[in-house]
Symmetry: C2
Subunit: 152 residues, 2 copies
DNA sequence: TATAGTTAGTTGCATATGCAACTACTATTT
DNA sequence: AAATAGTAGTTGCATATGCAACTAACTATA
């Protein structure tokens, strides 16, 4: 068997991997430059804010932001230490812990959003027209299935 | 100003970010499962092997694999410690250091390739036809410009 | 209801990454 | 040629991540 990729295949794979890497690096740098925490904090806060009651089990949270349980646990530690979230016991399942966004956390997310929005616009959306955005959706949903409700 | 993304914009952005994240996680897990080092090692070894004389200045290497200089330096430390690369002084610019792939490094890359190839095929290429791969190339090259020669 | 198996979350340890400061050199300006 | 600015690479320190082992609680089975 000739395990070799064609030129097209190669370029598609490399493009797929590196384009995301480059764009995300720019986004994270912009957060840093503004004195903000990294994108992962934003992601987490957003999921909490979207969730009913501003709270989620750590398990669910991890699935949403694609982070393993120990990383969720520690990310929450950092956010909790700074007062952006708090933990609450889970009544139905006493093993479980809810992460709840605090007013301070909401405020942080609100301040981060314009920066994030600017990055997305400038480094991603501005490069494509609507038809192309639909292609991107279509193509990426072939790879994985996400559940996306609303986002801002 | 209403800084809000449309549904299309949101789905495109999330899809773009998360699809790559998910696929790369699978790829890296497959390396791990086979007892291999992570993708970053493969990437580095590949660049060296492609380069003339099997060697590159650390600076150039960093640009190719999108890694900052201190990370290149340390990644090379790890590879060097295991004998997959060695460092050589640079004659023209005595500040510089060449990283050179060793026979052992080539052997490692060769053993990693079938695993990598399988992952790319299974988790990426198999989901698209040629027209779609071309779309991916086209779309990702809008975001960043890469120089890709050959790849395997 | 006792027992075994599973799941949610945390923690110690090893490794990886980021930042800033540092050394050693090259390039530029006067 | 001396002084200054810039570049390549390394390193100490702080933080982030991954793995495996752990606790505590839930679930299924006999």
């Amino acid at each position: 068997m000739r395990q070799k990729l064609s030129v097209i295949e190669t370029r598609a794979w490399i493009g797929f991997v590196k384009s995301q890497q480059s764009v995300l690096e720019i986004v994270d740098n912009k957060f840093k430059a503004g004195g903000f925490p990294p994108l992962s904090w934003y992601d987490l806060l957003l999921e909490l804010e979207k969730a009913k009651g501003g709270r989620l089990r750590q398990k669910e949270l991890g699935e949403l932001i694609l982070l393993s349980k120990y990383n969720v646990s520690r990310l929450l530690d950092r956010l909790e230490k700074q007062g952006f979230i708090k933990r609450e016991p889970c009544e139905e399942d006493t093993r479980g812990v809810f992460a709840v966004i605090t007013p301070k956390g909401k405020k942080l997310r609100n301040k981060m959003w314009p920066v994030y929005y600017g990055s997305i616009k400038e480094n991603f959306l501005s490069k494509f027209n609507e038809k192309e955005l639909k292609q991107i959706i279509w193509l990426s949903e072939r790879l994985v299935q996400f559940q996306i409700s609303r986002f801002e």
